[in-house]
Structure formats: structure tokens, C-alpha cells
């Protein structure tokens, strides 16, 4: 009797397993088909999900559009997000290749590397963006020429301009704190740059490395005690928990400077930031060149976006009792008077 019911159980469990798998695939395949009939297929893989990278992607699509490649008309765009998982990243690229994409865009360093690694076997061009140091990532040779059929744009932080701006806003400050995640290679190179340049503006940098978002509250508390202000990088881990840092900073009366417009919107005092949207547009135009066959990716050196602008938030300034100098406000690309929650 017992063995009989067990056999039944086993059969049922297998059947259920199969059913779940089939149902899953059936439901999913239903929502997959859209915009068929387009001639060119493009895959966009994004490593993490946050404002800067999202702006990058939207800019990229806009850049393609400006060059005559319109989604749903003459191109199909597939978009996948790896959610900071390396294994998923390579599977996303395999999937793009299987779908027959003629170009892959990798947003952020690990995604770009995954794309390059998988696509080079089939010689599919890869366009990257939001890669801070393409040379260190071996996506480009030391002289700036592409390492293979791969090119794109770099989002190097305007460190000098940021330091200059902080000095203008806080003439008496001595120390700047930076919170970063030890696993993000871009943050580490940015910190090195900050440390090198800080002396010129009379600052000392105090950094505090974390490993996961869970470490942020404690690390932020520790940092607040030691510094006059905080400047924030484009560190994916920290940015995703920026509201926590901002809350603690407001309590301690310490201003936080951002690195991008999205960060100022949600409560950073100010930032000299890149416009990731225009970075994306620039990247999209490079992709269009490759698609049109004007140039091969391996013939185009990567480009660095130089133009940076000031973004300020007067509501934050009022809260902290700080006035942003008029000269900055006048030159600002955008000034916010509310804090977005």
C-alpha cells in the first residue's frame, strides 16, 4: 500500500514539474512576439537598474532614431536587464545572438565584457556605454584603439569640476567622505582620481567601502562623524540606497553632493554631472554608423563625454541652511526647488 502511494506521489510530482515547466514556457512565449517583420534586430543588455543607466538606454534608442533607425519600423529592439548577475548577463547575450541580432549594446562594464566575449566568436559588433575605463576593462587597447569589433562611450566622472564646485559651495570644508562598494571597479578608480586631485582644492578624502546594501546604514553613520560633506559616485550599490544615505545626512546636517541629475532630484545638494541621456544619444549615433556600414566598430575609437554641467537643489540647500552661490545657479543646467520622494 505504502509503496503504491509513493509511486503515485512520484509520478504526480514529475507530472507537476513538467506541467509547471510547460505552462511557464507557454505563458511566456505568448507575450514574446511583437514588432515582427522589422529588418534589423538590436539587443540592449543593461547590467543594473538605476536612473543613470536607464537614461543611457533611452538616449541610445533616441540616438538610433535620430540616425534613422526607428524602433518598430525598421529595427526591433530587445532589452534585458541582468540585475547585477554575471551569469544572467552572458545568457542574455547568448539569447540576443540566437535571435540573430546584428548589433549588441552593453550598458555598464560587466555587461559590455559579456557581450564582447560572446559576440566575438560570431563577429557581431558590440557597442558599449557607461564604461568608465574601457582600457582597464580590455575593451580597448592602451592607445585607445578598439580591442576587437567593439567600441562605445565612456562615462568618466568630471572629478576636478566636482571638487571645484564643492569648494565654491563650502569654502570652509576640509574633508569629503565617499561611500562605495568594494566590488565596483569603476568606483575604485574614481576614488583614486578623487584622492589625487583633492589636495589641489584643499580637501582630504575619507572613503568607506561596503560590500552589500545592508552595510550602508552603519557605514553611512560612521562616515558622517568624520567628514564635512559627502560626495557620491555612480556606484550602483550605493546609488540604489541613496535615500538612506540622504536621510542620515540630513539628520547629521551634512550636505551630500551627487554625480548625476537623478541624484539631485531626490535630495543631493548639487552635482556636476554627466548628462547620461546625451551620452546615450552619442552612443546610439555610433551604433547607427556601424549599422549603416559606414564604418566597422573596430575602426572607431571609443569616445569620452566631456561636457558636464551643474545641477542644484535649492530645497535641500534651504533645509541645510546653505546657500548655493549665485554664480553656480546661473550656470546651472537645471535647478530643482523640490525634493522628489
Amino acid at each position: 500500500m505504502k509503496s503504491c502511494s509513493q509511486k503515485g506521489l512520484r509520478k504526480r510530482s514529475l507530472a507537476l514539474l513538467g506541467a509547471v515547466l510547460m505552462m511557464g514556457t507557454a505563458v511566456l512565449s505568448g507575450c514574446a512576439k511583437k514588432s515582427e517583420g522589422a529588418t534589423l534586430k538590436i539587443g540592449i543588455g543593461q547590467f543594473a537598474e538605476h536612473g543613470s543607466l536607464d537614461n543611457c538606454r533611452n538616449g541610445f534608442i533616441e540616438g538610433l532614431k535620430e540616425a534613422g533607425y526607428i524602433e518598430g519600423e525598421n529595427i526591433t529592439i530587445y532589452y534585458e536587464n541582468a540585475q547585477t548577475d554575471g551569469g544572467t548577463a552572458s545568457q542574455i547575450v547568448d539569447n540576443f545572438l540566437e535571435k540573430g541580432c546584428s548589433l549588441i549594446c552593453g550598458i555598464a562594464t560587466p555587461m559590455a565584457q559579456s557581450a564582447y566575449s560572446a559576440a566575438k566568436k560570431q563577429d557581431v559588433p558590440v557597442i558599449f556605454t557607461a564604461v568608465t575605463d574601457p582600457i582597464a576593462a580590455e575593451l580597448a587597447n592602451a592607445d585607445g584603439t578598439p580591442a576587437g569589433n567593439v567600441t562605445g562611450t565612456s562615462d568618466k566622472l568630471p572629478v576636478q569640476m566636482q571638487l571645484e564646485m564643492i569648494r565654491e559651495v563650502m569654502p570652509d570644508a576640509d574633508t569629503i567622505g565617499i561611500l562605495y562598494c568594494t566590488s565596483e571597479v569603476n568606483s575604485i578608480s574614481a576614488i583614486e582620481e578623487y584622492k589625487e586631485a583633492a589636495g589641489d582644492y584643499g580637501f582630504t578624502i575619507i572613503e568607506n567601502g561596503i560590500q552589500t546594501t545592508a552595510d550602508i546604514p552603519l557605514a553611512a553613520d560612521g562616515l558622517m562623524k568624520q567628514v564635512d560633506c559627502i560626495t557620491n559616485l555612480t556606484d550602483n550599490t550605493v546609488v540604489s540606497c541613496l535615500p538612506i544615505v540622504l536621510e542620515k545626512a540630513t539628520e547629521a546636517g551634512i550636505p551630500v553632493f551627487g554625480s548625476e541629475v537623478e541624484q539631485v532630484k531626490i535630495g543631493c545638494l548639487g552635482a556636476v554631472g554627466l548628462d547620461y541621456y546625451s551620452l546615450g544619444i552619442q552612443t546610439g549615433k555610433m551604433a547607427a554608423q556601424v549599422l549603416k556600414g559606414e564604418k566597422k566598430a573596430e575602426e572607431i575609437p571609443f569616445e569620452v563625454i566631456e561636457e558636464a554641467a551643474f545641477y542644484g537643489n535649492t530645497a535641500v540647500a534651504k533645509k541645510l541652511g546653505i546657500t548655493i552661490p549665485d554664480s553656480l545657479i546661473e550656470s546651472a543646467a537645471q535647478v530643482f526647488d523640490t525634493i522628489e520622494q
Binding site: L9, I92, N95, V185
Partner: protein
Amino acid sequence: MTILLGILEEGFVYAIMALGVYITYKILDFPDLSVDGTFPLGGAVAASLLCKGMNPWLTLIVSFLAGAIAGIGTGLIHVKLKVRDLLSGIIMMTALYSVNLKIAGKANLPIFSRETIFENEWLESFLPEGAKRYVTVMFLFLILLAGKLALDAYLKTRSGYLLRAAGDNEILVTSLAKDKGFVKITGLAIANAFAALAGCVYVQMNGFFEISTGTGTIVIGLASVIIGTSLFKNVSFIKPTTAVIAGSLLYKWCVSRAIRFGLPSNDLKLVTSVLFLIILVFSERKRRGKKNA
């Protein structure tokens, strides 16, 4: 074709690691989370050594040994310091995060420009252009096969018998005048050596080391082991090691199908967790049923 190659490549790599998980989870009944740290450990070792110009094939051996040492570490924490099995793995996994960063020097270490086992001058010299695509999958298969056969052979040695006995009935190991702690440490060493070997191969395949690659390794490993051994439970001529490899391929196939059919990768972890839970619950229930009988 691309996707099939992709599944085979990823499936083979993770199968090497899953063989290790098979030892800890199935043979020793030890839920060892350290593989989440030893998989990237193998990668970090490989990437940093390749940057120093070491022969790619040698890095396999060094990574294997590095993984074994980490496994011994987990074992010592568990056996000598009497920390619970799950916790010892977590401690080792957490510690390895920093160790891996130290070894690689940074969180992301590319080796695109270096020679790897899949791409080197020697291979270029005689391989026709068309064969290049299949080199990776072929070598992976050979490495996996070597690992599997070695493990099969080991499990038939005296030491291997003792390892199986330790998972089956600890008391018997003591009765045989052998230290069961030592046997467990041996098992953990072998298991983590396999995980590190997989990480080493993985990095060479992808062309870069990334600290985040280890996250979730154990889930893939456990899923492969459980899927494989549950499916082929009643097929006696298929060895459990073969079943584990099949499990790994099947798991990767499911995940890739899911992405292919438009499952947003955001939901991927949820879907795999649910899938994993279902398999776990059913195989667990079966096990309990057997014990009661």
C-alpha cells in the same frame, strides 16, 4: 545553434561545480555554501595568474588546489571549532569575498588579451576558422569528462568508500577507527576544488573575472544535483555523476528557454527559486516517505 552552444557551454561549466556539490550535498549530507565563494575564487586565481603570464592549463591545477584549501578551511571551522555546517559555509563564503578581491586586485579583471585554454597561439596555428566556435564547448566537455571519470574512480577507492560511509552512517566511520571529521574535511576539499576548477574555466571562457559571478552558484549546483538525481533515480545504469551533469544541462536549458520566451530577466531569480523549491519539496517528501517505510 548559438543558444544550444551557449547552453552546453554554461551547462558543462556549472556541471563541473555541481559534481562538487554532489559530494557535499548528496554524499556527505552537508549543505555547503562555500561554493558561492570558491567558484569566484577559482576565477580570481585564474585571472590573476593569466595576467602574470602563467600557462592557462597550469591555472586549472592551481585553482583546483586553491579551492581545496578553501574547502579544508570550511571543514576545519565545522569540525574543529564545532560551528554548524550551514554556518561554516556562510563564514567561508563571506571571507572569500574579500580574499577574492585581494587575489584579483580589483572587482573586475579582464583577460581578453591573454592566452586562455580556449584561445591561444598553439590552437590558432592549426585550427580552421570554422572550428573555432566549437573549441570552447569541446574543451569544456573534455575537462568535465576528466573530472567526472576521476570522481567516479575516486568513489571506488578505499578513501572514496569511507567518504560515502561518512555521509551514510557517521557512526560506522568511527567504528572503523577513522576520524569522521577528517573524512568530512576531505570531502569538502574535493567538492570545493571542483567548484574552483569550474570558476577557473568559466573566467577563461568569458574573458573576464567579475566578483559578482559567484552569487547564486550554490543554487545552480543544488538544482543540478537535485534535478539530475531525482530524474534518473530509477535508472540504475546511469551513474549519479552522469545524472548531475544532465541536471546541470537541463537547468541551464530551462533558464535559457525562459529568457528566450520573453521571461523578463528581472523575474528570473523568482522563477528559478520557485522551480527549485518545487523540486526540493518533492524530493524531500520522497525521502521522508522512504524513511518512514
